[in-house]
């Protein structure tokens, strides 16, 4: 998205005739942030810099607004979101091993995203499937009972196939 080319009169719509220039710029902020997130998948800092000079708002103000709303993210996220459950029941049944294996396999640390934005590895408190422990979710699909090495390999295959 070309931030420089954004026309605030167009973005704000007909109500803009009631507003001052400053109010218009402020008024389209959330709307623009949504468009940025849709395009990049998160809110990159460089774009916020550009946005800040375009809207004459300080970067801290933009981050203040963006961080209030749950929808906005500041780190890129991969297409495949893998969450390893480290809740008590899963931990006891060896989810740490699952996490380590996945970390080695995809060369990622917990919380990181691969450079080609294909996969993000995260941990989560409890998914609520303690009966299936240890559990990993791949894009909200639950893979449970990953107790043996064979099952971990199956999980890796499942993630790659997705």
């Amino acid at each position: 998205m070309e931030i420089e080319a954004v026309n605030e009169n167009f973005q704000i719509g007909s109500i803009g005739s009631l507003l001052s220039g400053k109010q218009k710029k402020r008024g389209i902020l959330i709307h623009l942030l949504q468009q940025i997130q849709e395009e990049y998948g998160y809110i990159p800092e460089e774009i916020v810099k550009k946005l800040s000079s375009k809207l004459s708002l300080s970067m801290s103000e933009i981050f203040s607004v963006a961080s209030f709303y749950k929808m906005f993210r500041f780190t890129p996220r991969g297409k495949k979101l893998v969450k390893v459950c480290l809740g008590t029941a899963c931990y006891v049944r060896g989810s740490k091993k699952v996490l380590n294996t996945l970390e080695n396999e995809f060369q990622l640390k917990n919380g990181e995203t691969s450079s080609d934005l294909s996969i993000t590895l995260e941990t989560v408190g409890c998914v609520g499937c303690c009966g299936l422990a240890p559990v990993t979710t791949v894009n909200d699909e639950v893979v449970g009972d990953i107790t043996s090495t064979g099952k971990i390999e199956g999980l890796i295959k499942f993630i790659r196939k997705k």
């Binding site: 719509g13 007909s14 109500i15 009631l18 507003l19 109010q23 402020r26 008024g27 389209i28 902020l29 959330i30 709307h31 942030l33 949504q34 203040s64 607004v65 209030f68 709303y69 749950k70 929808m71 906005f72 008590t88 029941a89 006891v92 049944r93 303690c130 009966g131 422990a133």
Partner: protein, 899 residues
């Protein structure tokens, strides 16, 4: 599409549509529900398949993709004209059957018709389905009848007739009066009359006014507004137009959650079509009325459903609420300071019907103070979940049992939560209460936006309250602290209760906190956040008490409560529970049975959910106690206890029920059968004071006003001044101190700590302790309320001034009178010891080591004191016939001499 230039154009368009047979009832037509829930059940695929098959078969039939038809549980649903058959759970592969049976053969597809149970007759038509029978649709009048993405459909079913009427024969004031007379109450929650709100906005000073529709519907389990925005967006637009006409506004804003992409899509299409046809924009239908509508998407914040927070969000700020006044309807209150009228989506959707048919018609339905209908999202443990619109004044029983079809599995009804996380739980006794805004407020709940979650006996009421509160807590914006801190604290207490660590007084604490939050929070979110907890305490207090006192959850939901027990009569040892248990608590006994090791069991209930036979039972935890009459202090229970729950007191042994895991090991090992158990409930009432805490009880019975002289007398026995003052203070605290004034109550406690530090020479003991003692003493003399306190202060002060040197000596580890236990040690002088073994017998702490002589077994060769075990009780010194046990100061004699 041709633009309509005048009101006559609209009329003639409608006539033309009727003549062309748009939506005419005698034509073959399939209405497929394409609301979000049915889409999730593949209704779009079904539509594609139907279209393809109809084209191939050559039948003349039309397919309409409608908004939500209500019965989401049984989706995808469809109705077929002209017969009016109602089908449910239609899969894409059934499309050929529908075409060949119904469209060609004009008879129903039997297995797609709705049946209550297999034995009953099927319901052919929508009016026969119990779910729809008691419903009355005003706000949802077009939902399920028209294609929401086609303005022609809306006009054909009589849409935009109200605005047409308003613009031709009514003045703005007449429109407002009509809404006021209809007593339309805001459907968003509080039920403030919309007409009065409109009037406020109209009369406020300000050049421009704004109409806002609040579609930020964030309650878990509520989707009324979504269905209207998705299924009938034009009636929302028409309602907003009528409002704008009445209050003289030119701009409208619809605030929608970003989680509703379909609603945003349908609304944008609707606005675009209305603009194209000339119903929105400049000079609507040539009447000089200007009105434009825009959509603002939220960004995922529940608090933005609150009016002032919503305004901040529209302005592009953080969604913080602000104090009122100014109200939204006043100058400076709405977005950018313009007065604004904010109503809920459903409220606006009712307006066109009121204007078209008149207030008198609207007043006929509902109750006197709450006319009209209300849409509820019926969810939870009912057979038919979905969207229902019912007249006000209907009873909860009718909604849950007649429309909802009763509880799943015919279980017992427990409560219904209305109004989402801000509402309250209504117990069974109010099932026959006619519901409207006022009656619900009276019993502590609210109408809210219309979420209705039904709970059955398998739901734990404390857990439900915790769930709703945790939602409000995580959505609290954090601006004002009653809400931010208060909800967090309440949640912590609930967490404590549900994990089995509840304490007496927690319920009162919850009530107190809840009332503070309600009265002191800034916005509606905080003001209503404690509601679920407060109403559940009001109606289900016994269940809270059961969690706290009996550590038992009757719904088996809360983890960490109750006691899991494996019934060996049922168990056939499939070992599923063993695999499921994350703590390896299920073991095999010597006899070959399985049992649950209570010490390892964390009550996660993994085994309970995995057992195919139900052999795992959850029972109330028993309480074990020791019968003093039978116990002869053999200590075998202490030795066997793995969690050290059995404590030794001066009067015998007691079991600390907070530590005890109820494993039963001590019960099995006790040779006298002195360990007994009882149910907690009974135990708490009868046994607690008598048995478990006998020592404590005795302490309580000490007469409060022992004269200080008696304590003076006791203290005289001690020689060391530090010991003297410590004993005095300790006895004073336990005896005569009443705790009424703080120089005395806090002072003595503090002095006790400092003195203990000095006598034990603990880390950090130093000169400052002595100074602090002096200050405490002088404070007590000056500020104590009664003579007792002042006398104690004087005693402390005298002893400090007379023997300050001795106190200082203690700081270097020396007690010259050899009384303070850390600074002295006992030694056996081998020259004097005659190895009689007297001390060995007397020592309670097994601190004396002795070796039996090899040559003469009755005698001993060698005696020594284990310093770590020795408690310096002095018993051995008393009984030693030769005085061989000597008290030695740890610091060398030389240092003593120097000082």
């Amino acid at each position: 599409m041709q633009k309509l230039k005048s009101l006559d154009d609209l009329k003639s368009l409608r006539e033309k549509l009727l003549k062309d047979g748009v939506l005419a009832p005698n034509k073959k037509r399939i209405r497929v529900c394409c609301g979000t829930a049915c889409r999730a059940n593949n209704s779009l695929k079904l539509v594609d398949k139907l279209k393809k098959d109809i084209k191939e078969s050559g039948v003349d039939a039309e397919i309409i993709t409608t908004g939500c038809q209500g019965l989401c549980q049984l989706g995808p649903v469809m109705t077929i004209q002209p017969q009016g058959y109602f089908y449910h759970k239609v899969k894409p592969e059934r499309s050929e059957d529908i075409i060949s049976f119904t469209l060609k053969g004009e008879r129903p597809v039997w297995d797609l018709l709705f049946r209550r149970s297999l034995g009953e007759k099927p319901a052919y038509f929508i009016k026969d389905v119990p779910f729809y029978r008691k419903q009355l649709r005003i706000a949802l009048r077009n939902n399920g009848r028209i294609d929401p993405e086609n303005i022609i459909h809306y006009i054909a079913v009589g849409g935009y007739r109200a605005i047409e009427k308003a613009l031709t024969v009514m003045t703005p004031q007449q429109v407002l009066d009509e809404v006021k007379r209809a007593n339309l109450r805001g459907r968003g929650g509080a039920g403030f009359p919309a007409g009065i709100k409109w009037e406020h906005t109209k009369n406020s000073s300000g050049t421009e006014k704004i109409v806002i529709a609040n579609g930020d519907e964030g309650d878990p389990g509520a989707f009324m507004d979504r269905s209207i925005m998705e299924g009938d967006p034009h009636s929302l637009l028409e309602g907003m137009m009528l409002c704008a006409y009445a209050i003289g506004a030119h701009y409208g804003i619809i605030y929608v959650r970003h989680e509703y992409p379909l609603a945003v899509k349908h609304l944008s299409t609707a606005i675009k079509q209305a603009e194209e046809i000339g119903l929105l924009g400049e000079n609507v239908l040539g009447t000089g009325f200007n009105f434009s509508i825009q959509i603002r998407e939220g960004a995922g914040a529940f608090v933005c459903g609150e009016a002032t927070a919503l305004v901040s969000s529209i302005e592009g700020e953080r969604g913080f609420p602000r104090p009122r006044p100014p109200r939204l309807s006043e100058k400076g209150g709405g977005p950018w300071g313009y007065p604004a009228n904010l109503n809920n989506i459903e409220t606006y959707a009712c307006v066109p019907a009121i204007i078209e048919k008149g207030a008198t018609w609207f007043l006929k339905t509902g109750t006197q103070n709450s006319p009209g209908t209300k849409v509820f999202a019926l969810t939870g443990k009912v057979k038919n979940t979905g969207l229902v619109e019912v007249p006000m004044g209907i009873t909860l029983r009718e909604i849950i049992y007649d429309i909802g079809g009763g509880i799943i599995g015919d279980k017992k009804f427990k409560a219904v939560q209305t109004g989402g996380p801000s509402g309250g739980c209504i117990p069974e006794k109010y099932l026959d209460l006619p519901i409207d805004f006022d009656s619900l407020t009276k019993i502590g709940s609210i109408m809210g936006s219309g979420g209705m979650v039904v709970l059955d006996e398998d739901n734990c009421i404390v857990d439900v309250a915790k769930f709703f509160l945790s939602f409000c807590q995580s959505e609290s914006c954090g601006k004002c602290y009653p809400c931010r801190v208060g909800t967090f604290q309440m949640l912590q207490i609930l967490e404590k209760i549900t994990s089995g660590n509840g304490e007496e007084g927690d319920i009162e604490r919850l009530e107190e906190l809840g009332n503070y939050i309600k009265s002191a929070s800034l916005c509606g979110l905080g003001k209503s956040a404690p509601n679920p907890v407060l109403t559940t305490i009001k109606y289900f207090r016994d269940e809270y008490e059961e969690h706290i006192k009996n550590k038992y959850c009757r719904a088996f939901v809360c983890q960490g409560l109750g006691q899991l027990h494996l019934n060996t009569d049922i168990c056939y040892q499939c070992k599923r529970c063993m695999d499921a248990c994350p703590f390896e608590a299920i073991k095999e006994s010597n006899e070959g049975f399985f049992y649950i090791d209570q010490v390892l069991c964390q009550r996660c209930k993994a085994c309970f959910s995995v057992c195919p036979l139900g052999a795992i039972e959850i029972k109330e935890q028993p309480v074990l106690y020791i019968d003093k009459e039978l116990c002869y202090f053999c200590r075998s229970c202490i030795n066997v206890c793995r969690v050290d729950a059995i404590k030794e007191t001066s009067t015998g042994f007691i079991i600390d029920s907070n530590i005890c895991k109820k494993c039963g090991d001590c019960f099995n090992v006790c040779p006298m059968g002195a360990i007994k158990y009882e149910k907690i409930g009974k135990f708490l009432k009868v046994a607690s004071a008598e048995i478990a805490y006998e020592g404590l009880k005795e302490k309580e019975q000490v007469p409060v006003d022992i004269p200080l002289d008696e304590i003076f007398h006791d203290v005289e026995k001690k020689i060391c001044p530090v010991q003297k003052s410590l004993t005095f203070i300790e006895e004073f605290i336990e005896g005569p101190m009443c705790g009424r004034c703080y120089p005395c109550s806090f002072g003595t406690e503090e002095a006790k700590l400092r003195l203990l530090r000095i006598t034990q020479k603990l880390e950090g003991a130093g000169e400052n302790d002595i100074d602090a003692l002096k200050t405490i003493a002088s404070n007590m003399i000056e500020a104590s309320f009664c003579k007792k306190g002042r006398d104690t202060g004087r005693f402390l002060s005298e002893i400090l001034s007379s023997s300050e040197e001795e106190f200082r000596l203690h700081l270097s580890g020396i007690c010259s009178n050899r009384e303070c236990i850390s600074s002295i040690s006992y030694l056996i002088n081998p020259d004097l010891c005659i190895r009689c073994g007297e001390c060995l017998k007397k020592c309670k702490f097994e601190a004396i080591m002795a070796k039996a002589s090899e040559s003469r077994p009755s005698e001993y060769t060698y005696f020594e004191i284990k310093q770590k075990a020795c408690a310096r009780c002095g018993e051995c010194v008393k009984y030693c016939p030769t005085g061989a046990i000597e008290i030695i100061s740890k610091v060398k004699e030389e240092i003593l001499a120097k000082t």
